[in-house]
């Protein structure tokens, strides 16, 4: 446990210049909120320090207010979480992207393993990954409709009406 706290401390020191907010949801986790523009620099700093490895990229859809009939929806946001692991320690870089600016630069130039996760993020949540070389469908069927992102909360399957089914 001592080494975990030590390595979290090291990560905190590295990420401090980019942090908008820092918290520790669990003893072995450090969560750092950063601005999308700082992403590349923050990842670069972690990698240069040889701190752990990229373990996953998680996309979280956080829609605005629940939709009421006829009204337009308040703009939601997508949280993109980059999980780096080193031993038991987990560092999360959290980026919040409003729907209208759902684009992030690719970090696959720094850690090549990110390519898969970014691809998944783009396909499942509709976050544009700038600079990602790959195109086309990844996991979804070849005849999947354009512009439908299954992990968005507004997507509730093909059988039900899309609007008004919030929170099902």
């Amino acid at each position: 446990m001592a080494s975990t706290i030590g390595s979290l401390g090291a990560a905190e020191a590295v990420l401090k210049p980019f942090a908008k907010a820092i918290n520790r949801p669990q003893p072995e986790r450090l969560e750092v909120s950063i601005h999308p523009d700082d992403l590349l620099a923050a990842v670069r700093a972690l990698v240069d320090e040889s701190w752990g490895y990229l373990s996953a990229i998680v996309g979280l859809d956080r829609p605005g207010q629940p939709v009421t009939q006829g009204e337009s929806q308040a703009e939601g946001a997508i949280d993109v979480l980059y999980l780096f692991c080193s031993g038991a320690a987990v560092v999360t870089l959290r980026i919040t992207l409003p729907y209208s600016q759902a684009a992030i630069p690719t970090i696959s130039g720094i850690t090549p393993t990110a390519m898969l996760y970014e691809w998944e993020l783009r396909e499942m949540l509709g976050v544009e990954v700038i600079g990602l070389r790959v195109t086309g469908h990844l996991i979804l069927a070849d005849d999947w409709p354009v512009g439908v992102y299954p992990l968005r909360k507004s997507f509730t399957g093909f059988n039900q009406p899309v609007a008004g089914a919030e929170g099902a």
Binding site: Q26, C85, M115, L116, G136, L151
Partner: protein
């Protein structure tokens, strides 16, 4: 460039005789040598992450278990550990011990299954039949404990369903004795059989640096000398009381992957015996609330194929806000596609099975296609030179 115009594409799949799971591979070959590889997955994508958001916490337990029919227990374990952490529930030690015992039994079953399939891909069907015959011993043990051979459903939120009685413990001991003996035999076959060594040694070699660069995990990485194992790095369940030894190998080739997995089987047998001899007493379950407090949690466990990561977010209701699963097979795909280049087409099935791919795991959410650009590109001259050298 020349390689682009001269490529001959061999499509394999999605229905194909070698692997029992659907995936579509394309190998670009020049003569017998592979010059490029791509894979289209997604045939098993079912939309589980989305489905999880429409099911209650308990229902999801059974959904997660069915992400994969080989390592179902670890999926359920990772999920329950995450949910229990969110709920702030402390699970009785006996329940943790039984979970760990099931997980290690499952590892034995998975590694023996893999040994058989990999041998089959190498044209060594005798070993395939042997290892699958002996694997039935583990399956029987799992069935005796839980009542089912594949999806054991041993986990509950807050504990386990099945107890290990002293009669069961005796049976498990007996089964393990048999398995240990058989695994010594497999080790002997794998390390001494000329033909087998010819098919595995120096095939698909991956250095430690390359393994780390490509993000390999699990036995695939450990065979390249990357000592990374969540059971040791971040002990969960009661791996802190019953620690495992990380099995590594330095060769980095297919042969090393065989040795690492067989060694891990021995290690699992040792751990199970230790747990059975020092089984903590106590309750099997504890109460977990129906609504899980809001929060986010990361849960990591070591599946037979490598690190399995669950990210679970709760909004305080009866259903999860988001469950993200990052399965080990996914991480290892890039290793195969990059190692394939320059090998013979006949080695592809062995190489593919070398990482122990599990499509139902990774198809929940990914597919991968690799272009011919990048450092793996072989120029026409280089390829030709290689061919000349090879057949000299």
């Amino acid at each position: 460039m020349a390689a682009d115009t001269n490529k001959f594409v061999i499509p394999i799949g999605p229905q194909h005789p070698a692997l029992k799971e659907p995936a579509n591979f394309e190998f670009w070959v020049d003569g017998e040598i592979v010059t490029g590889a791509s894979v289209r997955l997604g045939y098993v994508h079912r939309g589980i992450e989305k489905g999880a958001e429409a099911r209650t916490w308990t229902q999801n337990l059974y959904l997660m278990e069915r992400i994969c029919g080989i390592c179902s227990h670890v999926h359920a374990t990772a999920y329950t550990l995450g949910v229990e952490k969110l709920a702030g529930v402390k699970v009785p030690q006996r329940a943790n011990a039984i979970r760990q015992l099931m997980a290690e039994l499952e590892r034995i079953h998975s590694h023996m299954l893999w040994l058989g399939v990999a041998a089959h891909e190498g044209g060594f069907d005798t070993l395939f039949m042997y290892s699958w015959r002996d694997r039935e011993t583990v399956m029987d043990l799992l069935e005796k404990i839980s009542g089912n051979k594949v999806h054991y459903s041993a986990n509950l939120l807050g504990g386990v369903k099945f107890d290990i009685t002293s009669e069961l413990a005796a049976e498990i001991h007996k089964g393990l004795d048999f398995l240990e003996e058989r695994n010594h035999f497999y080790m002997k076959v794998v390390t001494t059989d000329e033909t087998f060594i010819g098919r595995t040694q120096d095939i698909g070699t991956m250095t430690t640096e390359k393994a780390e660069f490509l993000g390999a995990i699990g036995p695939t990485a450990r065979a390249s000398g990357v000592a990374r194992d969540i059971r040791v790095d971040a002990p969960y369940l009661i791996y802190d009381q019953f620690p495992v030894k990380v099995m590594t190998h330095t060769s980095g080739d297919l042969h090393g992957r065989f040795i690492v997995r067989i060694n891990e089987t021995f290690e699992s047998i040792r751990i199970i015996r230790e747990i059975l001899d020092h089984m903590p007493q106590g309750e099997l379950t504890t109460r977990v609330p129906r609504r899980i407090p809001a929060g986010e949690v990361v849960s990591r466990v070591e599946a037979p194929r490598g690190e399995l990561l669950y990210f679970i977010a709760s909004n305080g209701s009866e259903k999860p806000e988001r469950v993200k699963v990052r399965t080990p097979s996914l991480c290892n795909w890039s290793t195969v596609l990059s190692l394939a280049i320059g090998l013979k087409l006949a080695d592809m099935p062995m190489l593919l099975s070398g990482i122990d791919p599990c499509f139902s795991c990774n198809d929940r959410s990914i597919s991968l296609k690799r272009g011919q650009q990048g450092p793996q590109v072989w120029s026409w001259e280089k390829l030709r030179q290689y061919g000349i050298e090879y057949y000299r």
